[in-house]
């Protein structure tokens, strides 16, 4: 709690100090700089059941989810064929001639699907046809013993890969800390906010979940034993064990991109409670100290190559983002605008670091900065208090918590700041989201 107090005190100090500072310069770059790669659009037509023997209820729900997933990728425009062509599809849904009929509309893919119940599970037969030559681009059967949404997410990821050549996020998961009646607990949900699952029932303060690259583990900070300690939740085994429980603060864990190491902030019983960043190697179980300043260093995040880390330090009086090599050398300051810059998250593409900055009204917002510090932009606006940015695995979206009138929700936004939407149906406040790999 002392840590929280220290940071709160810092915020107060920053707000007072900011009155005497020159106003932060205007944002350095135009929005179009970060939208170049996010506006590809493929026109597709969705065809319902390829055959008329599927479950109608399931088909209706499944088709709706395919539509939603496709639109959420941002890569697809779903066209509605005119009635005459729709009638053709109704007779022969995925016939090559039928597919060819929509080619004049500029359609680049005809997506067909058939859902059926298989015992306790669901099967989806998904087909994508090229309208120009009638060839089949994708023909695959997806099965799951679980909910239909799982097969839909996989299907849409395959479609995205077929058209755009990138791995989609539809099979990724999101972990977050949710307020419960008596405290806080760890939750997970699908990338689109569906299938929320409560993972712990501790009812104690917790934060900062972090996924392993293979999605088998989640690290998170818990006050289960009175002080912040880090638990490793093995999802495949369904078991938990304490990973870091040094005296003092054990906070802000993050995995390296290859999953072989993790960086973490520990105070290790120092009377000052100053946290320093450590690197832990799983294979050797070796803990190596990286920072040596007489101030707080915390919130590490790896570059995609794993050779560098961004982190927060108040060594210059206020919390700012710094960079260093993964051996602790070559420390240099990255942020200079404003007096409060925290919670860095390095994009999987490597081109941006998202972090929490302050706007002119002293409200926390989400900013992006290039790793060389030359470009900086604030991408969230409005009256809410935005915190804890986390990147989608493809580096095109940001997830963060947005607090309005004391209630915190999870928000998703494109990296250029457009298309904000709230995720999930969890009714209580949610904190510190973390987006997994696909």
């Amino acid at each position: 709690m002392r840590q929280i107090f220290v940071w709160k005190a810092m915020v107060g100090l920053c707000l007072v100090g900011a009155l005497f500072l020159i106003a932060a310069p205007a944002m350095a770059i135009d929005l179009s700089v970060i939208t170049n790669e996010t506006r590809l659009s493929f026109k597709v037509v969705l065809v319902g059941s390829m055959e008329h023997k599927g479950s109608s209820f399931l088909t209706k729900k499944g088709e709706a989810l395919v539509r939603k997933d496709l639109l959420e990728t941002g890569y697809f425009e779903i066209l509605t064929p005119p009635p005459a062509i729709a009638a053709v599809f109704a007779r022969e849904p995925l016939d090559s001639v039928s597919a060819h009929s929509v080619a004049p509309l500029g359609v680049e893919g005809v997506v067909g699907m058939q859902f059926s119940l298989q015992g306790d599970g669901v099967q989806l037969h998904g087909v994508v046809r090229d309208p120009l030559n009638g060839s089949i681009l994708l023909d695959k059967i997806y099965r799951t013993p679980g909910k239909y949404s799982l097969v839909v997410h996989e299907f849409v990821d395959d479609i995205l890969y077929q058209f755009a050549g990138i791995r989609g996020v539809a099979t990724s998961r999101i972990a977050f800390i949710g307020r419960t009646r008596h405290g806080y607990d760890l939750f997970t949900m699908d990338f689109d906010g569906e299938n929320t699952r409560r993972m712990t029932f501790d009812n104690v303060l917790a934060f900062n979940p972090a996924w392993s690259h293979d999605r088998r583990h989640i690290l998170y900070v818990t006050y289960l034993h009175g002080e912040p300690q880090i638990i490793d939740y093995d999802l495949s085994a369904g078991s938990r064990h304490m990973l870091f429980a040094y005296p003092g603060l054990n906070i802000t864990p993050t995995y390296s991109p290859d999953g072989k190491r993790l960086a973490v902030a520990l105070s290790r019983g120092r009377p000052s409670q100053h946290t320093q960043i450590y690197l832990y190697t799983f294979a050797t179980k070796r803990l190596e100290r990286l920072t040596y300043s007489r101030s707080n260093s915390l919130s590490p995040t790896f570059s995609p190559s794993g050779n560098a880390l961004a982190f927060v330090s108040d060594r210059d009086g206020h919390p700012q983002i710094f960079l260093m090599d993964a051996d602790g050398s070559n420390v240099h300051r990255l942020t200079f605008d404003g007096s409060y810059n925290v919670a860095p998250a390095w994009s999987p593409r490597g081109d941006w670091i998202a972090y929490v900055c302050m706007n002119d009204m002293h409200r926390p917002k989400i900013c992006l900065i290039s790793p060389d510090g030359t470009s900086r932009i604030m991408i969230t606006h409005g009256s809410g208090r935005d915190d804890s940015p986390s990147w989608s695995p493809d580096g095109r979206f940001l997830l963060y918590s947005r607090q309005i009138r004391g209630h915190s929700k999870l928000a998703k936004i494109w990296i250029d700041g457009h298309g904000r939407e709230f995720l999930g149906q969890y009714s209580r406040s949610v904190l510190t989201p973390s987006w997994s790999a696909p």
Binding site: I22, Y292, P304, D316, H318, S329, N330, H332, G350, S370
Partner: protein
């Protein structure tokens, strides 16, 4: 970076296009943010404060002449206050240096003709075979057109640094190399050489990395990356199995950069490991 190094860097930058810098500073209304006297004053204040803090720390740590908890608490309060003042001064200094960097970038972007020189016939030490390997479509154009001088040094640096952080070390090497060849007098040149060395280090081109770290140290005597280059040399020597040279490099860090707390602590740790 030590205060001395910062000041040296500033002086070096001041020598570069000093007239243009002052003119542009006035034009852009940045004179209040970064002037030579400001930086000198800041440095003097930090030196004074550092001396005071050291004195208070000695008194508090030794316990000599301190009797009773009240006096000790008073000393601790004074110490905390002084440390806070130092941190604030350091913050101001960092911001001024950042503004100077931005200013230099603008000057160099506006005067590409005077800043650019024809590409050198060969690099200072030809990169190992294969270092100009496959390029991604997004960056290949820039990296493969060394004759183009339309890009300012900071634009080339920005792209090269992004490629470095994305792990495209081969591409980063060619881009940093291009910057150094085309703009040898740029204030970014020494950093470009440093990151080129880093790229080679990541590719395990240890000897080439050593040569480039040496270039940062000896060719760009005021480089902000000088201390780190000494430390990195120690690491490279360790990789090459040359323990004696590694020890020498780490000791140089301790001798030459006593105010580089982070690097000093890292060097001490390395030295103790090498002693084991």
């Amino acid at each position: 970076m030590s205060i001395d190094a910062r000041n040296q860097t500033f002086l070096m930058r001041r020598n570069f296009h000093v007239g243009g810098a002052l003119l542009l500073t006035l034009t852009l209304g940045l004179s209040s943010c970064a002037s030579p006297s400001d930086v000198s004053d800041l440095r003097a204040q930090m030196d004074t404060l550092s001396t005071k803090v050291a004195k208070v720390e000695r008194e508090a740590g030794g316990g000599a002449g301190v009797s009773g908890g009240t006096q000790l608490a008073d000393l601790e309060t004074r110490l905390d206050n002084q440390k806070l003042r130092i941190a604030r001064l350091r913050d101001r200094l960092e911001r001024m240096n950042h503004r100077l960097d931005q200013l230099m970038n603008r000057i160099e972007a506006q005067t590409p003709a005077s800043g650019a020189t024809p590409p050198a016939p060969s690099a200072p030490g030809t990169p190992p075979p294969g270092t100009a390997g496959a390029k991604t479509p997004a960056t290949a154009g820039a990296a493969m057109s060394p004759q183009t001088t339309s890009e300012s040094p900071d634009m080339i640096y920005h792209q090269a640094y992004a490629d470095y952080q994305a792990g495209h070390f081969d591409i980063a090497i060619s881009e940093f190399d291009r910057l150094v060849k085309e703009y040898p007098d740029s204030h970014l040149a020494s950093s470009a050489v440093f990151w080129e060395a880093q790229s080679h280090l990541n590719l395990k081109h240890y000897k080439r990395a050593l040569a480039l770290y040496d270039a940062v140290i000896h060719k760009y005597v005021d480089s902000p990356k000088k201390a780190t280059s000494y430390y990195k040399k120690g690491q490279v020597y360790e990789k090459l199995g040359n323990k004696k040279a590694a020890v020498k490099s780490y000791k140089r860090v301790l001798e030459l950069f006593p105010l580089e707390q982070q690097l000093d602590d890292l060097s001490k740790r390395r030295l103790s490991r090498l002693d084991e």
